[in-house]
Amino acid sequence: MNIVETVGLTRTFGDFVANDGIDLRVAQGEIKAIVGENGAGKSTLMNMLYGLLTPTSGSIRVRGTECTFGSPADAIKAGLGMVHQHFKLVPSLSVWENVVLGIEKRVQTRAGRLPFIDARGQIGEVQAASDRYGMQLDVTATVGDLSIGLKQRVEILKMLYRDVEILILDEPTAVLTPQEVDGLIVTLNELKAQGKTIIVITHKLSEVMQLSDSVTVIKRGHVVADLRTAQTNERELAQLMVGRDVVLTLHRDERDCSGNDVAYQVRGLSTTDEHGKQVLSDIDLDVRRGEVLGIAGVEGNGQSELLKVLTGLMTATHAATTLEGRDLTNAMPTAIREAGVGIIHEDRYQHGLCRELTISENVIAGYHERPDVCRHGLLRPHEIAGKRDRLIEEYDVRVADPDGVVSQLSGGNAQKVIIAREFDAAPKLLIASQPTRGVDVGSIEFIHRKILQLRDAGTAVLLISSELSEIMTLSDRIVVMYKGRIIGEIDDVAHASTTAIGLLMAGIPQTEEVAR
């Protein structure tokens, strides 16, 4: 029996059809994966199911009855819960407060209910729920202090606590370690065994294969395939998604760069956050010319802070940083760029781009003082437009309106604007953090290829990513960060196992592993 069904579901934005007559059938108690490139219309579909968008035409049926959802509250009432890729949490509240927000229970006495929230009772309940699903959360911790990975668990817990029957997860594994992904799969299977239905939106085809029972592929607003997972494979899915063969494993020239000069050197980098908490301790890094040094680790183990310190957005309490012999310790962002550092920030729309500015204005950001675009303090609109058009061409940015703002671009194309801007300056060092997060398969391939091209041209690359496969594909050498320290290093990436790195990511040093 289909617990959720959509019939001819269509949603248009102006004359752009985001979803065109989608027929989706989700059976009771199955794990359904919905895959598709960025911009294919997955999120539009999910937002309609969750009451965030109203369909232009078509209908949604839950357990056979037609439903109209005016808001997420309606959807939750109907038993549909969503875990967003981007979190909807109140940072200043604690974990349990976030979980019970909206459905708080009040203190019950014999005389009736008091106007106070039953904190003790609910802390217990939420903690129990967390433990039941192996979330390992301290429910009294403040959400703002949690790492991104933990915040996501709070999101999942929030829905589980609401006893939803159908759980929609939007890119749930984007921030988890391999071990945690395994844990999540166990959890999802457990939920499935209890009769819950799970819909997972994801880019990661390996996970689709691992966890789902059936898979629906969406392309340009249409359902292009509806398959049993057991009867398909990653290659076929990828092909269906993008309509062409995708090179899932990039060919990479193996070459020894251990003899190259060290271009970028970081010594003894330590710093504290604004609360005085030690977030980075004694980090040493050496990146050689033509080498990709990957920094692996579960998100929230200091990578964000490391990026900020290295790019001049945060100061280090102790450090010595040099690029090609030039001292860059606690330098300003301008000086760092001037020294030849290209930067891909982890938060694309916070630091990398300005959504409301035009593509032209974005492609010069950070380089807008250079003589090719600016002379005597005046910008050169003609040259800037020329640069923009050249970069759009060279980096295959799919853009509807070259004069338009960046917010028109899909995630992958927005990222390509950043890549184009930073790579065009021919950096001596590239610091890239999560360069392919939330980017479609086609763009991932493109971005990876560009990074390797840069490396082959002799640029030193520092790659920070929580995506282990990305680190393994691109890096010549890997260091693993755990709790603000470098916990291990892997020199022979070709022969390293995911398990070994996974253990390091979980904070178990390899020496210990060997000793056992």
Binding site: R11, F13, G14, D15, F16, A18, G39, A40, G41, K42, S43, T44, N47, L52, H84, Q85, H86, K88, L89, P91, I148, K151, T311, L313, M332, P333, T334, I336, R337, I343, H345, D347, Y349, Q350, H351, G352, L353, C354, R355, E356, L357, T358, I364, A365, G366, H368, E369, C374, G377, L378, L379, P381, A400, D403, G404, V405, S407, Q408, L409, S410
Partner: protein, 367 residues
């Protein structure tokens, strides 16, 4: 995908709508009030705007009064665009005017061009100096510039009052006032109209500011800072230095506005020099009405000056109390505070549908 309009044109239209709706609505409500008083709104408005906008000598007069407002409007806009709020334009105007007045009546025997130039430069320097205080506090100590600039206004008004009552008092005057500036320090009226060289000077400043806003690196950085400070910082814009620069420009424009008004209209500092509510405050309205766009500011300043000078024609030619202009001004301010269409609402509508509508609040949760 081809449906998307260009940002420039549509956001421009948006700005116009956001300014036009309040103005038109204010006039409509004003008309109702006039009708209730028992007068004909149409003829009243004809007197009011006909004399100030559609009559040659009237328009010249309007332009004369619009001149300082153009400068104060620009002074406000340059900071607001960067999301810095210089609420102290009024104080900077007054100090600039006072300084120009003092230089104007103390220095003697200078040729007029030199004397005027000296007055203006001193006023600009004083305006910048006053703006420097909140700028340094904001940039280097993180002190909220809104509070500092706002409070500084009151301090400056009192200081100038004391100075005008004691050291620089004109003993021959029956009320608190400084001596008039020397003839060599006054802008001469052009062709017998009320217009002086101050107006073309302000227009030159306007052109410079237009270039700064639209074409310069600084303008680009100001826009980026105003929209997304995180992005601006990550792109290597030295936010501290920009705050200093922006505040100093604002102070300079304010000082110039005050000095020009002094040397072309008032000639001496009195306690009601800046009028009510004051050139700085009016400039805030003008900047808001003009959508923080240089061209919009000029249009808004002219309209606003027409409204103010129109009050006199009303009292001369009709029985409507001239306070009606005050009512209309008040209504414009009130209605302007409602944003009818926001940039984000337009951008959101144009956004790729796949982008989650939820991203905005989410970012706040992550930080």
């Amino acid at each position: 995908m081809k449906r998307r309009a260009r940002r420039g044109s549509s956001l421009f239209g948006l700005g116009i709508a956001n300014s036009l709706i309040p103005v038109v609505s204010a006039f409509v409500i004003g008309a109702i009030i006039i009708a209730v008083v028992g007068e004909n709104p149409w003829t009243t408005y004809q007197f009011m705007l006909g004399q100030t906008l559609f009559d040659a000598s009237g328009f010249v007069k309007t332009l004369h009064y619009a001149t300082p407002l153009i400068l104060t409007g620009l002074a406000i806009a340059v900071t607001f665009k960067a999301n810095i709020f210089n609420m102290g334009v009024e104080g900077q105007v007054l100090s600039g005017a006072f300084a120009a007045g003092v230089v104007g009546f103390t220095l003697k025997g200078l040729p007029a061009p030199v004397h005027i130039t000296v007055c203006l430069l001193v006023a600009i320097a004083v305006g910048m100096l006053v703006a420097l205080v909140p700028a340094v506090l904001k940039a280097y100590f993180g002190v909220n510039e809104i509070v500092v600039t706002l409070m500084l206004n009151y301090a400056i008004v009192e200081i100038l009052r004391v100075l005008a009552q004691t050291v620089f008092r004109d003993p021959t005057s029956g009320y608190v006032s400084t001596p008039s500036v020397a003839p060599s320090a006054t802008f001469t009226r052009l062709f017998g109209t009320s217009l002086t060289l101050f107006t073309p000077l302000a227009l030159v400043v306007f052109v410079a500011m237009y270039v700064l806003f639209k074409r310069s690196r600084l303008g680009y950085e100001i826009t980026a800072m105003g929209i997304n400070p995180g992005f601006a910082e990550a792109s290597g814009m030295d936010v501290r230095r920009k705050i200093m620069t922006i505040m100093l420009i604002s102070g300079a424009l304010s000082g110039l506005a005050g000095a020009g008004f002094m040397l072309s209209e008032k000639f001496k500092y009195t306690l009601d020099f800046s009028g009510n509510p004051g050139l700085g405050w009016d400039g805030m309205l003008v900047a808001l009405l003009g959508g923080h766009d240089p061209v919009g500011i000029v249009v808004a300043a002219v309209l606003y000056a027409a409204l103010k000078t129109g009050a006199d024609s009303i009292s001369i030619f009709s029985d409507v109390p001239k306070e009606i202009t005050g009512v209309i001004q008040g209504l414009i301010i009130l209605l302007l505070s409602i944003r009818y269409f926001t940039r984000t609402s337009v951008v959101a509508r144009r956004r790729a549908p796949t982008r989650k509508s939820s991203e905005e609040p989410v970012r706040a949760a992550q930080s």
